[in-house]
């Protein structure tokens, strides 16, 4: 985890100018800039899946529709931003446990069975993080129901040709 990145204030009640999260000029090298190696990603996979599920689903649906990667760049950008935000939130609460867990995975063959102790510590520390990130707008259940009805009642057509 890179310690040079500034932290982000997720509180929206802040008066004055809102501080934006730090994103590099090109997010294509997010893993390199933020030190997100394979072990770190394996360690934080459940937190990512819980917090960014809406954005991830949007991206996967878009990819299922189009083969051309140029059509899903917008969703991909939001995906990377969500991931960066979650890692910044994890860094606030339990950076040490994450690094310990990631090094254990790195040394022990990326097997979850060999690092149960460190996994337990990390999970107990990261329990309050299991909710959707604040920057994602989730529609209300009524709106979701209406969207679903609209999708069901629309005619079934072939996907558009790229």
């Amino acid at each position: 985890m890179a310690t040079t990145t500034p932290s982000k204030d997720t509180s929206k009640e802040k008066k004055g100018k809102e501080e934006k999260a730090y994103y590099p000029a090109t997010i294509e090298y997010a893993s390199r800039d933020f030190g997100l190696t394979g072990a770190v990603l394996y360690a934080a996979n459940e937190v990512l899946g819980a917090r960014c599920s809406a954005v991830f689903d949007d991206f996967t649906l878009c990819k299922g529709k189009y083969e051309n990667p140029e059509k899903c760049l917008k969703e991909g950008e939001s995906v990377s931003k969500c991931a960066i935000e979650t890692f910044q939130e994890i860094g606030k609460l339990c950076q040490k446990e994450l690094t310990v867990y990631a090094t254990c995975l790195d040394k022990k063959n990326m097997d979850f069975n060999n690092c149960r102790k460190e996994q337990l510590e990390f999970k107990t520390c990261s329990l309050p993080l299991y909710k959707l990130s604040s920057s994602i707008e989730v529609p209300s259940p009524e709106q979701q129901y209406k969207n679903l009805l609209q999708r069901i009642r629309s005619p079934v057509t072939a996907p558009p040709k790229d």
Binding site: T26, I27, E28, A30, S31, L41, Y42, N45, E46, L48, G49, V55, F56, F59, T60, K63, Y66, E67, N68, P69, E70, C72, L73, E75, G76, E77, V79, S80, A83, D111, F112, N113, K161, D162
Partner: protein, 156 residues
């Protein structure tokens, strides 16, 4: 007797035996004493040619069968338990990879698009004055197929 007691431990006891008393060899063989290799005093010890396994000792056949059956039963349950554990571990890893796919795919897409754009521009520069050259020519109608493969130089 000449030193027969000293040879008793080795098992060889040379004795001086008396000549044959039968009348068959009276005229042909010498009627003198001769050296003979014979058994020790008291005879040889008894050789145990019978089996050492005594059927009246140890557990009976039923008990042995029960032990074998018990071991196999315990083994079956252990196998089932370890199979369930293996399946659970594989599921855990599968879920971890599913959670990470969108993040990694988005990064890969960005790199791919940038590389493809760079190569398309180079191609346009090279084929500037060429007649009947369409850079956005469709190679396939029903699906998206890129005009060229990216070099993937960022991997090396």
């Amino acid at each position: 007797s000449l030193g027969s007691k000293s040879f008793r431990s080795s098992g060889i006891n040379a004795e001086y035996g008396e000549p044959n008393s039968n009348s068959t060899h009276n005229n042909t063989m010498n009627n003198s004493r001769y050296l003979q290799d014979g058994p020790p005093e008291g005879g040889y010890q008894k050789v145990n040619y019978k089996k050492m396994i005594s059927p009246n000792k140890g557990p009976s056949g039923r008990v042995l069968l029960g032990i074998c059956v018990g071991m196999s039963v315990v083994g079956y349950f252990e196998v089932m338990r370890m199979r369930a554990k293996r399946v659970k571990d594989a599921q855990e890893k599968r879920i971890a990879r599913m959670n990470l796919v969108p993040y990694l795919q988005a990064e890969s897409d960005r790199r791919y698009v940038i590389e493809l754009k760079r190569q398309k521009e180079y191609e346009a520069k090279v084929m500037a004055g060429v007649k009947d050259f369409d850079p956005n020519e469709k190679y396939y109608e029903s699906r998206w197929v890129p005009n060229m493969q990216p070099l993937l130089s960022y991997l090396y």
